[in-house]
Amino acid sequence: MLLPCRLLSSVAPQRLWVGLGSRVTGSVNSLTSFRAINTSPKDASTPAVQHADEENTSTEAAKLKKPKRAPFIKNLFLGRFDKSVLEFPEVLDQDQHELLHEMVVPIERYFLEQVDGPKIDRDAKIPEETLQGLKELGLFGQQIPQEYGGLGLGATEYARIAEITSLDGSIAVTLAAHQAIGLKGILICGTDAQKEKYLPQLACGDWTAAFCLTEPSSGSDAASIQTRATLSDDGKTWLINGSKIWISNGGFADLMTVFAKTTEILPSGEKKDKVTAFIVERSFGGVSSGPPEDKLGIRGSNTCEVFFDNTPVPAENVLGEVGGGFKVAMNILNSGRFSMGSSGAGMLKRLLSWSIDHAVNRKQFGNYLSEFAMIKEKFGRMSANIYAMESMAYLTAGILDGQEDPDCSVEAAIVKVFSSEGAWKWCSECLQVLGGLGYMKSYPFERYLRDARILLIFEGTNEILRLFIGLSGLQTAGGELREVVQKLRNPLMNPGFIIGKGIERFRQQKDNPKLDLDIAGHLHPTLQPSAQLLEYCVKRFQYSVEMVLAKHGQAVAAPKNQLDVARLADCAIDLYAMTAVLSRASRAYCIGLKNAAHEIQLASVFSAEAAERIKTRVRDLEIGPVQNHDDLYSRIADAVVENKGYVAEHPLTRTFW
């Protein structure tokens, strides 16, 4: 039963078609007007005759100015909750929506009929015909604008297609290495000349691309790369020297985005090393690749070393600005991350179906496996986690598509961390449901598990991303809270402030923050308890941010304080997930999606458990490193490292007879 929803201007119990007659892509200025859905059956069925004139959806949408909003998570560190995200974004108009769902069909068929996953894994190679088919399907130019021969898809459509390409990990990574990072730099900051020169052949797959950043001694610490680019005397050519490691598509890519150190001479005459991004064609010369690496998973994806020996690169091939390469790299990586949420969810949904199929057919002890609580728990928890993954991925994609110049770097990192760990864990649980069979190569579970392991490592290890999430937020908060923190750290010098703040802190210390955000007012009434929980968590999180800043100050980024930063990051992850699931479930219920009640359940249980996790972490921050055991573990680690191994004496050791 559809309860009257406060969001709707017309309280109509029938199914409401969102998007019909509404060409608003992401206008979130007024909540009620956004939800004032046109329920008139303008064209309840599709138009009588399709128009042969140009389909100008993109230009129409461009005419509608996109709103610009502050980054959501960064502001959460200040206790500022942008309630516009509680309206799950509706990004695609009807034409785009239909088009996307038409596209999904042949891609899925191709993967099911023409892709031999086990063989690709066994041979550690994707057959040429398979790659050719993918190119013909148009999968190599998904986000390249149509004027350059690509499909011109936005983030949301790209994310949807990623759900299907994840059917094979090696292919998914090959495609991502090519377009999500390999050529993305040209899309983001390439000159028109660079775009015209390179995008057309990259779009159809005649040329493939690779992203060359990592080096043997520079992984997470990307700013420390040693590949060098020196400018010729006439200023027209750069010579690149160095070696890169673990480059996906490195063995055959025709075009590479290469990051190298360039020397900048400051006005003072001092020399400074900075990173610059270059577009390098293999045909420039001096480029060679090592043999393909033999990997645990994604074995069909080509990974190898790439060497640059005096590779000449014309000056017009600098990508972005000389010395601005680090930012280019970060922008590229930030823009592709969110799709891991949808690809992970796509993969897990399939594995879930297969494990259920096993569980409802296999009997032990007179019962089907699906009747045992321990098996049911796996299915239940997994469903809630998949729901969170999808919700976050599409919420982030919706912001990327629907806002003007959005800063989703932290949100994308959150999606990546949550989805990679979820994919690994739940893949493993599905394998567990099948028991011994799951362990066998004749079943696909072990391959998906091995393929999933890399997700926690590449595109920024989850450890680094947790620091990024935590420190980005702290930096945002720190800037604004500097004065606040100063006063907090000097209570005796600022008694007035402390008293005022004291009341707030008193309530926080009693674990009873004032809930004044009215999050519940922006969600369907059924979700009120979860909305209250979210609000409580937002307040506790803000409190813990202030706590961490007050405790560490500038030293918050020091190696020894990472655990506290990670706690904040984990809270941010759970908060984003809670927000995404509640926003999505509320929408589902309001617009009358099938099984909306089930979605409410998923959102509620996920939120409840996320809130518990957040509570524990805030408490751990409150009680400090001695009581939360950080100190002890650190000392144990010190001893073990100094001993170059395990320290405790063997249990059988005796000192007496």
């Binding site: 069925s45 005759v49 389909e55 149509q146």
Partner: protein, 254 residues
């Protein structure tokens, strides 16, 4: 000799879906179930598009008689290479009762209107397995028919068609205009590529009703009962041939 080819495409429940009988036992569950183009119709479209690529055909028109969603099926055909589409809209409630004879009459009328030279249909739809529309269409038009085609070659003004029949392969010649029905091994249909799907958005789909063509779609049949096939029973082992013969006699089989 440039032919205008009409191809029929039907929206059916996807072949991979597990079919479930409706509670009222008068049909199968279609709500929320994955649908796609009838596989034999894909082969038909593929053949027509190949004829166009060989310059034997000049235009391929994809036709579907079905509910609103049949337009998705037509668009798939357009993405595979058909030039335009015709959607004969059948109200959702009547779709189940639509018979090969109705479709044949519609096709015949469209052939006249469009001045088509060749009709290619799938040999049968995987939901009703009627295997009748092509034959009826040919009869209504008084055209030659070449059914179960596994190979089509063009020879001046005629088609040489290899047919798969129970006894093997039969090669016949039919004069144009003609009706052909596509069998499984005629060709392997192409995947609709994403760029082609985008281009297909610009192709026209004309919409009309059966009544506009003067065709009455009142049913001639009434479905009395739909049921699952009986569950396969366990077999029994017998010791010798005599016991086997006795058991078969008891079961009334011999």
């Amino acid at each position: 000799m440039s032919l205008r080819v009409l191809v029929g495409v039907k929206r059916v429940i996807d072949y991979a879906v597990k079919i479930r009988v409706r509670p009222d036992k008068l049909g199968v569950v279609t709500d929320g179930v994955k649908h796609s183009m009838n596989p034999f119709d894909e082969i038909a479209i593929e053949e027509a598009v190949r004829l166009k690529e060989k310059k034997i055909a000049k235009e391929v028109v994809a036709i579907s008689c079905g509910p609103t969603q049949a337009q998705e099926t037509i668009r798939t055909a357009l993405a595979m290479g058909a030039d335009r589409g015709i959607h004969v809209e059948i109200p959702a409630k009547e779709v189940e009762k639509l018979e090969p004879l109705h479709v044949a009459k519609i096709m015949a009328k469209l052939v006249e209107q469009e001045k088509a030279d060749l009709v290619v249909l799938g040999k049968q739809a995987i939901d009703d397995d009627s295997n009748a529309t092509a034959q009826m269409t040919a009869a209504l038009l008084d055209w030659p028919q070449a059914t179960f085609a596994s190979k089509i070659e063009k020879t001046d003004g005629e088609l040489q068609v290899t047919r798969e029949v129970d006894g093997g392969l039969e090669i016949i010649k039919v004069k144009l205009p003609a009706v052909v029905s596509a069998d499984l091994r005629l060709n392997e249909p192409r995947y609709a590529t994403l760029p082609n799907i985008m281009k297909a958005k610009k192709k026209k789909i004309a919409k009309m009703k059966a009544a506009d063509l003067g065709v009455d779609t009142s049913p001639h049949f009434e479905v009395l009962d739909v049921a699952d096939p009986p569950v396969r029973e366990a077999g029994i082992k017998v010791e010798d041939v005599d016991t086997l013969v006795t058991k078969l006699k008891d079961a009334g089989r011999i």
